[in-house]
């Protein structure tokens, strides 16, 4: 990778699902060490954007490119993108009956180890690794024996997402409304986890509706997405302005 080249570069991206065009000419550049907040009204294409980055098969890219660490990832499978360092914290984390959280986390961890030709860890070693990470999101080890997200409260599910992000040590993390549905304590725990995780070699894209998350995590940039495009970019101040004025004043 060329020094100082961006971690992620999205150029003129156009995406559709079922012949419905959702993203229309999206451009975004994310450098290491940056936190980008993407805000915008419902239906503006924020979640689509996050899924397209992760390679969800339902969406077709009609035009444009996604460059990650200097190469186009459009032809890569979701699991390959994951191995390369892209992580998506789901807005609605999926419940997986019958599969324990511990098995799931270990399999995810070992899949990445394998991809990089590193030794896979056995269950005992893994327990040592995961127990360290659990502390960062204030989760009890009892979570490990429960089935993935099954019967978890909204806050527990979101914490489980952040736990996975920390475990997989992703370089680019996209957090899709990770703050929604959280009470103030859970919001603090999660923000704290994210802040500890963040370092100059990583980047985070926060998709959110609310300014309150940005009280705990300070973004480098705030973007407003509307109708499948980024229509305004600004500093953290922009989020506060949006909180007061809504989105309407930006239209036209």
């Amino acid at each position: 990778m060329i020094l100082n080249s961006p971690l992620l570069e999205i150029k003129n991206l156009q995406v559709s699902i079922n012949d419905n065009k959702i993203l229309k000419d999206l451009n975004l550049t994310v450098n290491k060490g940056e936190i980008h907040a993407i805000m915008g009204p419902n239906g503006s294409g924020k979640s689509t954007f996050s899924k397209v980055l992760a390679g969800h098969p339902a969406y077709s890219v009609l035009n444009g490119d996604i460059i990650f660490k200097g190469t186009s990832i459009l032809d890569l499978e979701p699991e390959e993108r994951s191995h390369l360092g892209i992580f998506l914290a789901f807005q609605y984390p999926i419940e997986i009956p019958g599969v324990s959280n511990e098995d799931f986390l270990r399999l995810a961890y070992n899949s990445k180890q394998k991809f990089y030709n590193k030794p896979e860890v056995d269950p005992l070693e893994f327990l040592g690794i995961i127990n360290e990470k659990l502390k960062l999101v204030n989760m009890s080890s009892l979570f490990l024996s429960r089935n993935v997200n099954e019967g978890f409260s909204g806050g527990e599910k979101k914490r489980n997402e952040i736990l996975q992000m920390i475990l997989l040590d992703s370089e680019l993390s996209i957090l899709d409304e990770t703050d929604s549905g959280l009470d103030i304590d859970a919001l603090k725990i999660i923000s704290n986890g994210i802040n500890q995780f963040m370092n100059p070699d990583k980047a985070i894209i926060l998709i959110t509706h609310y300014q309150r998350l940005l009280d705990y995590i300070s973004p480098t940039y705030v973007h407003v997405m509307q109708n499948g495009k980024i229509i305004k970019t600004g500093s953290a101040e922009l989020a506060k302005e949006l909180e007061n004025k809504g989105y309407e004043w930006l239209q036209r």
Binding site: P57, A58, E77, E79, S82, V99, L107, Q164
Partner: protein, 486 residues
Amino acid sequence: MVNQSNKVLNKDITKLVNQNYQYGFSTNIEKDIIEKGLNENTIRLISKKKKETKFLLEFRLKAYKKWKQMSEPEWAYLKFPQIDYQDIIYYSAPKVQKKLKDLNQVDPELLRTFEKLGISLTEQKRLANVAIDAVFDSVSIATTFKEELSKHGVIFSSISEAINEYPDLIEKYLGSVVPISDNYFSALNSAVFTDGSFCYIPKDTICPLDLSTYFRINDQKSGQFERTLIIAEKNSKVNYLEGCTAPQYDTNQLHAAVVELIALENASIKYSTVQNWYSGNEFGKGGVYNFVTKRGLCAGLNSRISWTQVETGSSITWKYPSCLLVGDNSQGEFYSIALTNNYQQADTGTKMIHIGKNTRSRIISKGISAGKSKNSYRGLVNVTNKALGARNYSQCDSLLIGSASNANTFPFISVQNSTTKIEHEASTSKIGEEQIFYFLQRGINVEKAVELMISGFCREIFTKLPLEFAAEADKLLTLKLEGSVG
């Protein structure tokens, strides 16, 4: 507009489910066959070839008369073309010169067939703790560990042998649990059954080995009608395993078996099946029609019968292993995994008939449907007025894979006294696109993801299988699902 991602995912799932059937080969061997078709003469001929007693010939003829008056049951959620019962070979046996004293006399081609199936009959390679009766088309080929078992008084032989050697036991118990005219297929089986296994565990005996029968259909036109009878005397205990495969033909073969279990006072029988008959190709062509009547009688006080089945093969499965809980405090159990894919159809479940006091039954059924298959659980819990204090727990879970598969649950509960406690739980879940995507996003590939979800779904049942079977069953399910989840 078809959702494109669903298409992609389903294609992957299909690939995963549709691993080639590895038992699809057929064996070329000289056979002794009775011309296809069914009439009184066929039956007399079968009975003559097998040198049977008068009792048995009459049993058969009576069954044939009943069968002619009956018609195929139509209540099951199954669709298949009319079966031409005159186009079936009812007797096909590998030609043997004379009675075999040991395995060295068995046609090596047959031994090789069983080797290929992973069933070793030769002395050196036998499984250490399992005695095997191998049935090829209509005839039992070999029964291993017979002498060792007989030291404990345990009889384990082909049913043909038992008919001649233990006529008293046969006359007393054959047809006592599944009457001749119980249903269309049991009547047919009673008329034409050719072989199967017979086990007798004497009083106060814990059978020292697991007993196992391996059924193999080979002939393209022949039906397989086996008959199994297991009797566990007072204070005895036995584990019985059954496995089945068939070659890959593009015509359908009929399999109509009857299994009868009798547990006397304090006796316990555990019967496990891994059914992997050929299930037809991905377009639904070929495959075995599997119409099976399995029933256990808990005759004595504190007796116990447990059915565990892993049903993955056959194009049609019609099968309801049941328990008649007659003895007070007797217990019946049914643990089932039924997996269907492509155009397979399964209508399977159980009947628990509570007659004795304080009888207990437990039903756990896991249905997995992929492709365009139909998978139904059908169960009856019947508590009679005498069954005071009876208890039942039922749990029926269905797992759908892809968007074209079909799962149904038909539980019937009939209770005739007020001291009964019945619990029924049911759930339906789906391995869908979003779950798979979640795994993929975390770097876990499709195969691993499906394997993990299927084993998780079936775990409760796997723990009920004997150890040798559990690993095999887990592998089998994954193989069958290869390509079906995406």
